[in-house]
């Protein structure tokens, strides 16, 4: 008999031709104890970077631990394809490593941060300027095995040479880091000529607190507390992502009622942050009436959170294994923790459902507001794709998905993903209004579901976390208010060995820089506020 291929239905079997995918290249590397992380040699790493240029995989983050470089990509065309991360690691051989930023722009802040913290540089780096170390620290490369002496270099900001047209016909002026506003310490250097902003550069690092170093070798509880303080606007998202990553690593799962509580907290945080971003944007657009309405609604929601959980910003309500709700005990309430959270969800819905519709209507009819927003800060779909922009800003450009659609926690909850192709401030604001409406629907569904079920005790809302002596790694992604928040955690003996964090803030800051170009200086705050960038989360 012939040993030729068996052909079913007369159709020859598909044979893969052409270039291998990034996923195939990584998977061909050496397996590690963790099934989604592979060890690559330098040659394979080069090949991986080369193929990453036109691969549909989404770049998530690039980190260093002092001896190795790790890159995490989500294997799929976009967030629409769900969570399928794959990590590649390469041992450092000397002070340089093959960089990724020349094929993925989103890697720029990661490479710059690695250079500042570990003193290792990316080859072919698009931007080699320091990101957070501007000569004020007590040592250079503080996280390297052998950190350097204190830098006594110039204190002056290190910026690119000024644009020739701006130098000849315009002016350069700075803004920040202390403006009296409450939007985080950061310095912007704007080059203005012919009535428009032609160059924008950001000097960051003012809010760098050394979170990576602090979380290293911390207890799980200590690291969780720090995770909630990466950026207060996404405290729940970060603590949930950290907790889920540890749960993934140690092999436990959060009880279902506790997952509902986490969703309620996360959606409440989303509503509060969107209200704040909208209020700041409205104020920057001189729409004081709608701005004050949005601020007041947010304040009322925060008060409800404070009464229900004791934490207005819902910090430290999520823990590894579940949630912590103790406020009802302190007040001596007859209802249990689960019903307390359900009541919070219900009260927020009752308070906000009508009010947000009124504010949205008002937003649309404020004279001149719509026109001003439509003309400002436009980011094209192509730019968003190049930046791999996720979250509200990405969805406003028609790019990027919503990880909530793929999360088990949101499995039985129906909501609509808001998307637009406008790409300007108006589109971003519309997406936020839509998302607030959808989050309220989620709160209502879950509050009703919890109310219909039986009450649980605090012990039923938190699984016991085992202390395992072996080294284990876990990852998690949570859709935060302004985009996906990733945590990759390594734990051993109840201690956090390493925690890698990817927050959307650094990409959003780059996107804001691009969107500001060409706008009038009057619209600078307007465009910047519409992105909702958390400076603290970008600086870590």
């Amino acid at each position: 008999m012939s040993g030729g291929p068996i052909i079913f239905g007369g159709v020859p079997a598909l044979v893969s031709v052409g270039k291998p995918s990034v996923s195939q290249i990584i998977r061909a590397g050496e397996k590690t104890a963790c099934r989604w992380r592979f060890q690559l040699d330098e040659f394979t790493w080069h090949s991986f970077v080369e193929h990453l240029a036109d691969d549909p995989a989404v770049f998530v983050g690039l980190w260093c631990d002092g001896s190795q470089i790790h890159v995490l990509v989500n294997d799929g065309s976009s967030a629409e394809s769900g969570v399928r991360p794959i990590m590649a690691s390469c041992t450092l051989d000397g002070p340089r490593y093959p960089g990724v930023s020349h094929v993925r722009v989103a890697a720029v802040p990661f490479e710059r941060m690695i250079r500042d913290l570990y003193g290792v540089e990316a080859m072919d780096a698009v931007n080699a300027r320091p990101l957070i170390d501007h000569g004020m620290w007590t040592s250079t490369a503080p996280l390297a095995r052998r950190s350097g002496p204190r830098s006594f270099g110039t204190d002056l900001p290190e910026f690119d040479p000024p644009d020739e047209w701006v130098a000849a016909h315009g002016m350069v002026f700075g803004k920040g880091p202390a403006t009296g506003s409450t939007e985080g310490p950061v310095h912007f250097r704007l080059g203005v000529a012919d009535g428009v902003i032609r160059t924008v550069e950001t000097r960051a690092g003012y809010a760098h607190r050394g979170l990576i170093a602090r979380m290293r070798d911390a207890t799980i509880t200590g690291a969780l507390e720090l995770a909630g303080r990466i950026g207060a606007g996404s405290a729940v998202a970060h603590q949930w992502a950290f907790s889920a990553a540890v749960e993934n690593a140690v092999g436990i799962s959060c009880p279902v009622p506790a997952t509902w509580c986490r969703v309620i907290f996360c959606e409440t945080e989303r509503i509060a942050m969107h209200l704040l971003t909208l209020a700041r944007t409205a104020r920057a657009a001189d729409a004081e009436l709608v701005s004050s309405g949005l601020y007041r609604l947010r304040e009322q929601i925060l008060r409800l959170c404070g009464e229900a959980s004791g934490r207005r910003l819902l910090m430290d309500c999520v823990c590894v294994g579940g949630v912590i709700v103790t406020r009802h005990q302190e007040r001596g309430d007859p209802i249990g923790p689960l019903q307390t959270v359900a009541a919070l969800g219900r009260e927020i819905v009752c308070l906000s459902e009508v009010r947000i519709r009124e504010l949205h209507s008002l937003w649309r009819v404020i004279p001149g507001l719509k026109h001003r927003l439509q003309c400002a800060g436009r980011l094209t779909g192509e730019q968003a794709k190049k930046l791999e922009l996720q979250g509200v800003a990405g969805r406003a450009c028609g790019y990027g998905g919503d990880f909530r659609l793929h999360m088990d926690a949101y499995e039985d909850v129906s909501f609509r993903q808001a998307i637009s192709t406008g790409g300007d401030v108006a589109a971003r604001c519309e997406i936020m209004f839509e998302e607030i409406g959808e989050s309220l629907k989620i709160l209502k569904t879950l509050a009703d579901r919890i109310s219909a079920g039986e009450e649980k005790g605090p012990e039923d809302l938190c699984a016991v976390v085992p202390v395992r002596p072996e080294h284990s790694e876990g990852y998690a992604v949570i859709e935060g208010p302004h985009g996906p928040v990733w945590h990759v955690v390594t734990v051993q003996n109840g201690l956090v060995e390493q925690c890698f964090i990817a927050d959307p803030a650094s990409t959003l800051l780059m996107a804001a820089e691009q969107a500001i170009l060409g706008t009038s200086p009057d619209n600078f705050d307007l465009v910047r506020c519409s992105f909702g960038v958390s400076i603290a989360a970008a600086d870590l």
Binding site: S181, R209, R298
Partner: protein, 169 residues
């Protein structure tokens, strides 16, 4: 359209504001200048809520300035990074005398979760004399307001205060 605008206007004017507080400043409002010296932004959010959330700042005789040159008190949030230390110092020196220093939140007082390391000074304690410290992580807007009211009701601003942040930290 006009109905919506009118309703919003009335809601804004007649909406529930914070509890009425006795005026504590005599002639002009006490002006504060806020500096986030590097934290997680939670205290900054609460200061923003205090300004915009209907807490009756004007009734309490308080206001926020956009420049330290017209401010009476420096309100510091965050654990004070080494990069922000010269900025806080510059803001302090730009303020007219008498002037006061207000540390809001655990971070601003002693660093809270962000103790001193290569990038942080770990709060204002040990760096300078603070006129008023409001603890909490973060303190609520009401706590902040009560702290400020208590301070200005009982003490005078210190013209000889050493100010924040030593040069080396």
């Amino acid at each position: 359209m006009s109905t919506i605008l009118m309703r919003a206007l009335f809601a804004s004017l007649l909406g529930p504001s914070g509890p009425a507080l006795p005026p504590v400043a005599s002639r002009s409002p006490l002006m504060l200048f806020h500096v986030d010296s590097g934290g997680c932004e939670a205290c900054g959010f609460e200061v923003e809520s205090l300004i915009n959330g209907g807490f009756g700042l004007a009734e309490a005789g308080l206001g926020f300035a956009s420049t330290p040159r017209t401010a009476d008190m420096l309100l510091v949030t965050g654990a004070c990074s080494r990069m922000m230390a010269p900025v806080v110092r510059a803001a302090w020196e730009a303020m007219p005398q008498p002037r006061g220093l207000l540390a809001v939140g655990a971070c601003a007082i002693d660093g809270g979760p962000f103790s001193a390391n290569y990038a942080m000074l770990g709060g204002l304690a040990g760096q300078s004399s603070v006129d008023c410290a409001i603890p909490g992580c973060p303190p609520s807007p009401r706590d902040i307001l009560d702290g400020i009211i208590a301070l200005i009701s009982t003490t005078q601003l210190n013209p000889e205060s050493s100010g924040p942040i030593t040069a080396e930290g």
